[in-house]
Symmetry: C2
Subunit: 728 residues, 2 copies
C-alpha cells in the first residue's frame, strides 16, 4: 500500500478518533493534544491503484526513496566519521561489486550450460528415434520432455515465486524508476528465475533467457546488498563498469575451461554468439533502400506485435488470477501447442539435397548445426527442422549464417516467421520466466532473410546480413531502445563495420513503430499498473496547465516536533502514509513552521527505543546518545519493524517523544503555485518519494500537502480535473 | 560578468540612488517608489571570479539557463499551439540533427584529408632530399615547413579566435555543465578550430585532432541552431544517435569515394584506424599480471603527466597574457624544438636490416608505412624515424602493428617514449588547437610495446596488443574516463574480444591515478577558473554542514509586479544580475508574496516594446496581445538586446510597466534551512541558473535571496566560513 492514500472511510475514522482524543480531557492545552490537524485542503483523496501485477501476481507496491534523509542523527554520524570507517566503506562497496560480478557471471554460465545440455539431451533423443523411423515415439518423447520441463518451470513460478514470471525487464525498469514491491527482488524470485528460465528455455518455448538474466542480475545484487543500503549512493557508472569487467573475465575463463569438452555435449558458443565477420560490409544505394524497407517492415510488425502481446497479457491475467493450478494448465496448453508446431510444421517442408562442397557434415547427426535430417533420406536435409528442432541460439545462428543463399526456401522462412511470431505472442504472459529478445530476433531474422532472398538480384548484401538487419528492425520496432539495441547487436556480432546499417534500420523501425504505439516494455509496465514516471515533462503535456496545489490529495496528517506517543501510534495505525510532516510550534518556535519530514520506518525504530518523557520537552541529546544512524538504516529483506512489533503500555501512550533527531530537516519543497510539470521534473530527477508543497501566501499553516508518485499519475490528475484532455 | 555579483561599491551606490529616488517626491506612496528593497540579509557579496580562461584568453563568463521559463506568454503560446506548428517543430529539429550530422561528417573528413596531404607533402619532400643524402637541406625543408604551418595555426588562434586554442574539451565540458562564454561556440572559433587544427597537426606537433573535433562539432551544432533555442529540450539521446548515424554514413561514403585514389597521396585509413583483429586474444594468469602491471605504470605516469601539464599551462598562461605576439613566439619556439627532436633523435638509432619474408616493401619509400629508410643504406631501416618522421596516426599504427616483435628496439621505444612524453607536456597550452589524445596514445603505446618486448618470455600476448593496452593504461591514467575510453578503444580497434583486458587495464590505471590527483580535464577546468559544478554532492563534503542561507550573497534587488520603468532601468544599469525576483504587493495581493522571477533579457525586450502606463495598473492582456513568446526566445549569437539599445524619454522613466506576463511564476525554490549539499544536487540536476531561497519562518519578506552557480563554488563558501575544512 502507498503513502497519502487515505480513503474516505479512513478520513472519517480519523475525524471521529480525533474527537475521541480531544474528549479524553488531557491536562494539556487543546493545541497540544490535537496533533492530527484539520485537513489543510479540501479533503480529496487519491484513488489510484496501490497494487500492480508483478510477474504473474497482483501485489501491493510501494515507492522507493532515493533522497538522503538529513536529520540530526545522520549529521552526528557524519561528524564522527573517521578515516578508517570511510576506508572500510569503500572496501565494502568494491567487494560487493566484485561479488555481484562473480555471482552473475557464474549464474549466467551455469544457466547457459544447463540449457544446452538439457535441450541437447532432448533433441538427441528425438533425433535418434527419428533416424530409426520411429516418428510417433519421437514425437511422444519430444512432447513429453517439453511438457515435463514446462510443468517444472510453471510449478516453480506459480507456487514459489509468481514475481519471477515473464521477462522481468518491466519490473526492473519500474524498480529503477522508484516502484518497489517486496517480491520483485526477493531470494525466492532469484531462485525461481534461474531454474524456471532454464526449464522454460529447454522446454522449447519461444522464449529467451536474456530478459530473465537482467532480472537475475538485479536479484543477485539486491541479495548481496542486504543491509548495505544505508549509504548507497550514486557514482554508479564506474562501479557498474567494474562489475561488467568481472562478469566478462569470469565468463571468458569458464568458456576457456569448457573448450576442452568438460561441460557436456552442447557446451559451445562464447561472448560473441554470431560471428558474422566474414560478410563484406560494402553497400550502395539499392542496399540502403532495401535496409530502409526492412526498417519499415520491422516498425509495422513490431507495433502489431506489441499490440497483440498486450491483448494476450490481458487475457492471460484473467486466467492467471484464478490461481496456481490455472497458471500451470495454461503453461501445459501452450507447451503442447509449441511441441505440435515444432514437430509438425517441418513435415510441410520438402527435403533438399545437401549442397556440394560443404566444409561440414550434411545432414548433421547427433549435434547442433545447420542441416537437420528429420524425415529425409541420407544426403538430404529438412531446412525447416533446422530452425524448429534446435535450441533457439542455434536457430538464430543458422538464420544468420552467410554464404549459402539457398539453404532456406522461401516457404520455410515464411512458415517459420508466421509460426514464431504467433508462438512468441501466445507464450508471453504465461507463468514462466520468459524473455522477449529471442522470439523477436528469430521472427525478425526469418523475415529479414526472406526479404534478402527476394532482393537477391537488387542488393549485394549477404542473406545472413539481411537476417541480422531483419532482427535489428524487429527489435527496434518492438522495444524501441535504439542505443542499447545497437550496442547489443554489435556485441553479438563483433563487427563494427555494420554500425551504420544497424543504426539506420533501428532509426527507421523505431520511427515507424512510434507512430503506431509505445514500446513493448512501456506498454507492459502500463498494463501491469506499475506507476512509472517519465523523465521528461513533455510526456504529459496537460501537466503544464496545472499547479502543484491542483493535485495534492488529503487529508494531511502532521506531527508536532515533540509529539504524544499515542497520537503517533494512532496515525501509523489508521493510515498507510510513509512520510509525515513535522511542524514546530510554540513554545519551540515563535509561530508554526515546517521542521521537516519523518519516515514511518524511522518512527517505528524511535518508538521501539522508548525514550519517552512525561512532559513535552526536548530530549534530542539523549536520543542522539541512545541511537546511532545505523539503527535507522534501511533494513534487509523482511527485517523491518512493523507496527505490531511495538508493545506500548497505556501510560506510555500518554507520554511524549522528541521527533527532532529523526526529522529530515531538508526535505525538497515546492511552492503550491509551482507548475505541475516542473514539480514532476524535480520529483523524477531527484528520485523523490515525498515532495512537500508549501503555501505561497503568508498566514496559513506551513505546509499544504505532500506530493507522491501517485499524485502525478494521469488517472489521478484526470479524475480531479475531468475537463482536461489527456492528449493534445 | 555574472548575476548576483554586486560589489560593495555597487551596493553603496544603490543605497544612495534609492534615497535620491525617494526624495524626488513622487505622488505614489513610499512603498510604491522603493522597489529596490533593503537587503534582506546581511550584505555579504560574492567575490568569486566571473572570468575564466577560455582557450588561451581571459574572458568574462556567464551561466546558462536550462530551466523552462513558465510565464503567461509561454502559457498562451502553449494554449494556442496548433498541430501543424508542432509538426513543423518536429520536422525542424530532425532537419537540424541531419544538418549537424552532415556538416560534422564533412568537416571531419575534410580535416583528415587536409592533414594527410599537407603532412604527406612535407614528409615526402624531406624523405626525397634525404635519399639524395642532402641532410641539412632536408632538415631545413622539414623545419621550415613545420614553422610555416605552426605560425599559420598560431596566428589564426592568437589574432582571430583565442578561444580556439587548446583541446576545447574542458570548455565544452564546462559549457554542458552550464558555463557560457560568448566566444566558446562562436563562428570565428569554429573557423579557427578547423584550420588551426589542420595546420597544427600537419606541423608535426605532438597534438591530436580528436579533442578539437569535439569542440568543432559543438560549434557546428551551435552555429546551425541559431534562433532555434526557444524550445530546445531534452530527449537528446535519440537525436544524438541519429546524428551519429548520419556522420557514420557520410564518412563511409566519402571513404569509399577516396578508395579510388581521388583524394591525394595519403588519403587512407577509415573508421577503424587500427585493425588489430589478427592478434589472438587468449590469455592466462601471467598475461593478466602483465596487464595489471601496465595499468599501474599507466596510473603513475598518467598522474605525473597531469601534474606537469597543469604546471606548464600555468607558466604558459603568463606568457600568453602578454599578447598575440608572445603567443606566436611561444608556438615558434616549441615548433623548432619539435622539429629538432623529430629530425635529430632518429640519428641515435642504429640501422636495422629489413626482416626477411615481409609482405610489403622495406624500406618504404614515398609513402607511409612501418619501415623508414632515413639515413640507412638500402635494405636497412631506421626504426625511430618510422615513429618520428610520420604522421601521428601512422606512428600509432606502427606501434600497434603485430607479428614482428623485433621491429622496434628497446632503445628506440625508450627514446620515443621520453621524447613524446616531454613534447606532449610542453606542447599543451600553446596557442594552437591541440588535442591530448594522440600524444597520450603515442606515449602509452610506446611504453606498452617496450614492456611487451621485455615480458616476451613471460606473456604470450602480442607486442602490438601490449602497445594497445599501454595506450589504454596511459589514457586511463590521464583522463580517467573509463567507459567512454573503453568504447573509443573498441571502436578504433574493432575487436570486442579484447574487452576484458581493456576494461581491466583501464580500471587499474584509473584507480592508481585517482590516488594521486584528478583527471587532466578536471584539472584544466579548475586551472582555467571555469565554475564547474559536480553532479554528486559528495564532491564537497563540507556542504553537508551548511544550509542554503549560509552562502546566499546580497544585496538582493527585487521588483514589484507592476514596476516603475526608471527603477528597472536603474537596477539593470547598476548590477550585472541576470534574474530578479518579482514581489506582488498590495493592492495586487493581500500581503507581499513571491510572484516569480524575471530575466534581464526578457526585461529588455519588454521595455523595448514600451507598453507603459501612467498609473500603477495591470496591463497583462494588452502585453499578451502585443508580444508573443517568440519575441522572448533566446537570441542567436550577438543579436540580443543591450541596455544601450533602449532609448527612454524622461516621462517614460516615470511610467509603469506590468511585469506579470514575463514573470516565471514557477521558479524552483528551497527553504533557507535546506542543506547546501541537497540544494546543490537540485541546482545541478535541473540545470538551473537561479535558485530562489525562501524564508522558513513567517512574517518576513517572501524571498531571502537567490543562489547561483558562483554561490556553490568552494572559494566563495570557504571565504564566508573560514573555519570549515575543505577536505575531510
Amino acid at each position: 500500500m502507498e503513502e497519502r492514500n487515505g480513503s474516505d472511510i479512513e478520513a472519517e475514522g480519523l475525524m471521529s478518533e480525533k474527537k475521541e482524543l480531544e474528549s479524553n480531557g488531557s491536562s494539556f492545552s487543546d493545541r497540544e493534544i490535537s496533533p492530527i490537524k484539520e485537513p489543510l485542503l479540501k479533503s480529496r483523496t487519491n484513488n489510484t491503484s496501490q497494487i500492480a501485477i508483478v510477474g504473474a501476481n497482483v501485489c501491493p507496491i510501494e515507492s522507493l526513496d532515493y533522497e538522503i534523509v538529513e536529520n540530526e542523527l545522520l549529521k552526528q554520524d557524519w561528524r564522527s566519521e573517521k578515516k578508517v570507517e570511510i576506508f572500510k566503506y569503500v572496501v565494502l562497496k568494491w567487494t560487493l561489486a566484485l561479488l555481484i560480478g562473480l555471482s552473475t557471471g557464474l549464474v549466467g554460465f551455469f544457466s547457459n550450460i544447463a540449457v544446452e545440455n538439457i535441450a541437447g539431451f532432448k533433441l538427441l533423443l528425438t533425433s535418434n528415434l527419428m533416424l530409426k523411423d520411429r516418428y510417433y515415439q519421437a514425437f511422444a518423447a519430444y512432447a513429453s520432455c517439453n511438457m515435463v520441463l514446462a510443468i517444472a518451470a510453471a510449478a516453480l513460478c506459480a507456487y514459489i515465486a509468481p514475481a519471477a514470471a515473464g521477462s522481468g525487464i518491466p519490473e526492473v525498469k519500474a524498480y529503477l524508476n522508484g516502484v518497489d514491491d517486496h517480491s520483485i527482488l526477493a531470494p525466492s524470485t532469484l531462485f525461481v528465475k534461474i531454474f524456471g528460465s532454464i526449464f522454460g528455455v529447454a522446454a522449447g518455448f519461444a522464449v529467451g533467457k536474456e530478459g530473465p538474466m537482467v532480472h537475475t542480475g538485479a536479484c543477485i545484487a539486491s541479495f548481496l546488498g542486504q543491509g548495505g543500503s544505508r549509504k548507497w549512493r550514486s557514482a554508479l557508472l564506474w562501479r557498474s563498469f567494474f562489475t561488467t569487467a568481472v562478469v566478462a573475465v569470469v565468463l571468458r575463463s569458464l568458456i576457456e575451461f569448457c573448450r576442452s569438452g568438460k561441460c557436456g555435449s552442447f557446451g559451445q558458443g562464447g561472448l560473441i554468439m554470431f560471428d558474422v565477420n566474414s560478410a563484406e560490409p560494402t553497400y550502395n544505394t539499392p542496399d540502403i533502400l532495401a535496409v530502409i524497407l526492412l526498417g519499415i517492415i520491422g516498425g509495422i510488425f513490431g507495433s502489431l506485435y506489441n499490440f497483440l502481446v498486450v491483448k494476450v497479457l490481458h487475457t492471460y491475467s484473467i486466467i492467471n488470477e484464478r490461481g496456481p493450478t490455472f497458471k500451470t494448465l495454461l503453461v501445459i496448453t501452450i507447451s503442447l501447442l509449441t511441441s505440435c508446431c515444432s514437430f509438425g510444421l517441418p513435415w510441410l517442408a520438402k527435403c533438399t539435397p545437401c549442397p556440394v562442397g560443404l566444409d561440414h557434415e550434411c545432414p548433421t547427426i547427433g549435434r547442433s548445426g545447420n542441416f537437420k535430417n528429420f524425415q529425409c533420406k541420407s544426403g538430404h536435409y529438412n531446412d525447416l527442422s533446422s530452425l524448429f528442432l534446435n535450441t533457439n541460439d542455434d536457430a538464430i545462428r543458422n538464420l544468420f549464417s552467410s554464404g549459402n543463399e539457398k539453404e532456406f526456401h522461401f516457404s520455410t522462412l515464411f512458415i517459420f516467421f508466421v509460426a514464431i511470431f504467433c508462438l512468441g505472442i501466445i507464450t508471453s504472459g504465461i507463468a514462466i520466466p520468459s524473455g522477449l529478445f529471442i522470439p523477436v530476433i528469430l521472427a525478425g531474422a526469418s523475415y529479414g532473410r526472406l526479404l534478402g532472398t527476394f532482393l537477391r538480384y537488387m542488393s549485394n548484401l549477404d542473406v545472413g546480413l539481411f537476417a541480422l538487419l531483419g532482427a535489428a528492425s524487429f527489435l527496434g520496432g518492438t522495444m524501441r531502445m535504439t542505443v542499447s539495441l545497437c550496442v547489443m547487436l554489435l556485441e553479438l556480432t563483433n563487427n563494427l563495420l555494420m554500425l551504420p546499417l544497424v543504426m539506420l534500420v533501428l532509426l527507421v523501425s523505431k520511427t515507424v513503430g512510434d507512430s503506431f504505439n509505445k514500446g513493448v516494455y512501456d506498454q507492459i509496465v502500463k498494463m501491469k499498473g506499475l506507476p512509472y514516471m517519465e523523465t521528461h515533462a513533455e510526456a504529459e503535456p496537460y501537466m503544464k496547465h496545472l499547479v502543484a496545489r491542483d493535485v495534492v490529495s488529503g487529508p494531511l496528517i502532521t506531527f508536532s516536533g515533540v509529539e504524544k506517543v499515542g497520537n503517533i501510534i494512532h496515525a501509523l495505525k489508521i493510515t498507510r502514509h510513509n512520510g509525515f510532516p513535522v511542524i514546530d510550534e510554540p513554545p519551540f518556535s515563535d509561530a508554526p513552521e515546517l521542521c521537516g519530514l519523518v519516515l514511518r520506518s524511522h518512527l517505528l525504530v524511535l518508538l521501539k527505543g522508548k525514550k519517552f518523557t512525561k512532559k513535552k520537552v526536548l530530549t534530542g541529546t539523549e536520543i542522539l546518545r541512545r541511537f546511532h544512524a545505523g539503527d535507522f538504516a534501511k533494513p534487509g529483506l523482511g527485517k523491518g519493524l512493523k507496527l505490531d512489533d511495538l508493545d506500548m503500555k497505556d501510560e506510555e501512550m500518554e507520554m511524549y517523544v522528541d521527533l527532532h533527531p529523526i526529522t529530515n530537516t531538508s526535505p525538497y519543497t515546492v511552492v503550491e503555485m509551482m507548475s505541475l510539470a516542473k514539480a514532476a521534473v524535480l520529483f523524477r530527477q531527484l528520485g523523490l518519494r515525498h515532495l512537500c508543497v508549501v503555501p505561497k501566501t503568508p498566514g496559513r499553516p506551513p505546509i499544504v500537502g505532500i506530493l507522491t508518485r501517485h499524485d502525478f499519475m494521469p488517472e489521478h490528475v484526470l479524475r480531479l480535473h475531468p475537463k482536461i484532455k489527456p492528449h493534445k
